[in-house]
């Protein structure tokens, strides 16, 4: 097991290296000159000295490979650069907004699992009944509906039907925990709908597959009540597959966060990324992209490792 963990951790290194190379290449590929774009709206535009200073600051006077090495060395020290717009360190800006993302994502995942596992199990146990058909159709419809549409309609419903709906504001948890939780509840629920349908589908498929296996026949034939067979044995074994699909869905959730934050006006990393794209604040764009990709890779690894802990067959 320890060896498996070590191998998997080491395999992260080339991936993260490749990620950094790709993100840097995007920055280097920006059409036009970054300094021109940046100074376009600036009073110092045309001031050759200011331009030269900026170029030096960004290491733009050095060859591309050297720039990459300098940039990577900064990353390794936790220095993601400085925002063109606010003049603050990028990492600080990201970390300041991280709690918003963590809170939304955690509540959304909890809701999706809390609803999805029972619904999926119900669908499997009532296989080929109207309940099953309804749940199956609901889940296909569920992942065909764009989440940003649901979010937009939620905002619309709020303003037309329930003006006091607790959305479109944000209060930090440290300031007022109760108010904070009330305000993120509805956005988190909407976000949970991005992953709910697949969790339902996976739970159903996995429970059905387990119900066919020999150990279920054994459990039944030794006289266990069906309820106990399903909840104690089948569900426990099905959860591994559900864990896996949840891991895959982390990426969907990160993408969904960007849209959720934009629509519900929540100050998370997604909004930071969108704002920096509008302002062409490249250090923040690359910093936030790199940060989110790194988190995604690490969470995927964590899910894989958890899977290996729960299911010895995985650790070859």
């Amino acid at each position: 097991m320890r060896r498996y963990i070590a191998v998997r951790m080491v395999s992260l290194i080339p991936i993260l290296f490749g990620v950094s190379l790709l993100v840097f290449a995007m920055q280097a590929l920006v059409p036009g000159d970054i300094v021109d774009i940046m100074m376009g709206g600036d009073q110092a535009f045309g001031d050759k000295n200011a331009e030269a200073r900026m170029r030096r600051q960004l290491n733009l006077d050095r060859p591309v490979p050297e720039r990459y090495v300098l940039w990577l060395a900064g990353m390794a020290r936790g220095d993601l650069g400085t925002s063109f717009v606010s003049g603050k360190p990028v990492l600080g800006e990201i970390l300041r907004r991280l709690p918003v993302n963590l809170e939304l994502a955690l509540i959304a995942i909890t809701m999706a699992l809390g609803l999805g596992i029972p619904i999926g199990t119900l669908s499997a146990v009532r296989r080929d009944t109207w309940t099953d058909a309804g749940i199956r159709f609901g889940s296909v419809l569920g992942y065909s509906v764009p989440n940003f549409w649901v979010a937009t309609l939620t905002v619309l419903a709020g303003s037309l039907l329930w003006p006091a709906m607790p959305i479109l504001q944000y209060v930090p948890f440290t300031e007022n925990p109760g108010r904070n939780l009330t305000l993120v509840l509805i956005p988190s629920f909407v976000l949970s709908l991005t992953v709910l349908p697949l969790i339902v589908r996976m739970t159903r498929a996995s429970v059905l597959e387990n119900l066919r296996l020999d150990y279920v026949r054994t459990a039944r034939s030794k006289g266990l009540p069906e309820r106990r067979v399903v909840y104690r044995h089948v569900l426990a074994n099905s959860l591994i597959a559900v864990l896996n699909v949840t891991g895959v869905q982390i990426g969907v959730l990160i993408g969904g966060l960007v849209l959720t934050e934009e629509i519900f006006i929540l100050p998370g990393i997604g909004r930071l990324l969108l704002e920096s794209i509008q302002k062409r604040d490249f250090p923040v764009i690359t910093g936030a992209t790199l940060f989110l990709a790194t988190i995604f890779v690490i969470l995927n690894l964590a899910v894989d490792l958890l899977h290996a802990v729960l299911d010895p067959r995985v650790r070859r």
Binding site: M26, V30, Y143, S144, W149, T152, L153, V258, F296
Partner: protein, 300 residues
């Protein structure tokens, strides 16, 4: 499970061969028996026809403004008009063009590039496989929407860049699917037989391996068409896709946010169009998968 395994694998290889060489009318008949697949095909066909025939079907110029702002649905404008008095139905039809153009072009390119990577990696194995798949792993390290977002953020929003962004985001899926299938097809005797008959690598790949990995490619492509529609809409919604005044479902929904209290149709119509299009390709994909790739049929 372990006892059933070899039988199942042999069955899959057999089915894959027959699926690819099966006459088309047989496939249609099987599809016809699945009501949801037919519904999916119908929805997809409506959207595709709407996109193709937009210039003839649209009652109005999608960019022509009129004094009838935020007009309710009426006989002259079936879905009403937007904040500039533009005909909503015409904009939806032209929006379908953007949606279909981006998804079909991106999925097509990702299938070609990703498929080629997967075929080479799976067929040659060894160092080629390692190198190609490491590259694919790097692309997989980005959440799909984030990668597409980063590409259009860097290059700017346009149809061409949207296609590029979605293509890049989808290359990993196709590489993986095709590599997996190629690996299992390679084990078959007919591959060994063509080698023994003196066929070169290129010929074996194209004539023996490729036809047998087509089924999973087609299934995957259908599903990716539906998610590509979603990504295009999301990027345009965020203002990073097609630029106004050109109509795109995503940007229409985004613009509607400022006026939807006055005219909810503005928000309902584009979102509904996205949902129906995505649902269509999803249902059709489910049906295709059940027929072409029965290994996964239970997952429905």
């Amino acid at each position: 499970m372990s006892v059933a395994e070899p039988v199942a694998v042999a069955g899959v290889a057999g089915v894959a061969v027959s699926a690819a060489s099966r006459p088309a009318h047989h496939l249609w008949r099987q599809l016809w028996h699945r009501k949801t697949a037919v519904l999916g095909l119908a929805l997809a066909a409506v959207v595709l026809l709407g996109a193709l025939l937009a210039p003839w079907l649209a009652p109005d110029d999608p960019l022509a403004m009129s004094p009838r702002r935020l007009g309710a649905p009426s006989a002259s404008a079936w879905l009403g008009t937007d904040q500039f008095g533009r005909d909503l139905l015409s904009r939806l039809l032209y929006g379908a063009r953007v949606s279909m153009a981006v998804s079909f072009a991106a999925v097509g390119m990702a299938t070609l590039v990703g498929g080629a990577i997967g075929l080479c990696a799976g067929f040659f194995g060894g160092r080629v496989d390692l190198l190609l798949m490491r590259g694919v792993d790097v692309l997989m390290a980005f959440p799909t929407l984030l990668l597409a977002l980063a590409v259009v953020a860097t290059l700017g929003g346009s149809i061409r860049n949207l296609i590029l962004a979605v293509t890049l985001a989808y290359i990993p899926v196709f590489s993986r699917v095709v590599r997996g299938s190629a690996l299992s097809v390679k084990q078959n005797d007919f591959v060994e037989a063509s080698r023994a008959l003196g066929a070169r690598d290129g010929r074996i790949i194209l004539r023996a391996v490729l036809p047998n990995v087509l089924a999973p490619i087609i299934v995957q492509a259908t599903f990716n068409l539906s998610t590509a529609i979603m990504i295009e809409a999301a990027l345009s919604f965020l203002g990073l896709g097609v630029q106004p005044p050109a109509p795109s479902w995503g940007s229409m929904l985004s613009e509607a946010r400022n006026f939807m209290e006055l005219d909810p149709w503005l928000a309902l119509a584009p979102g509904g169009a996205i949902t129906l299009a995505v649902l269509g390709f999803n249902l059709f994909g489910d049906g295709l998968r059940d027929i072409l790739d029965p290994r996964l049929a239970g997952e429905g």
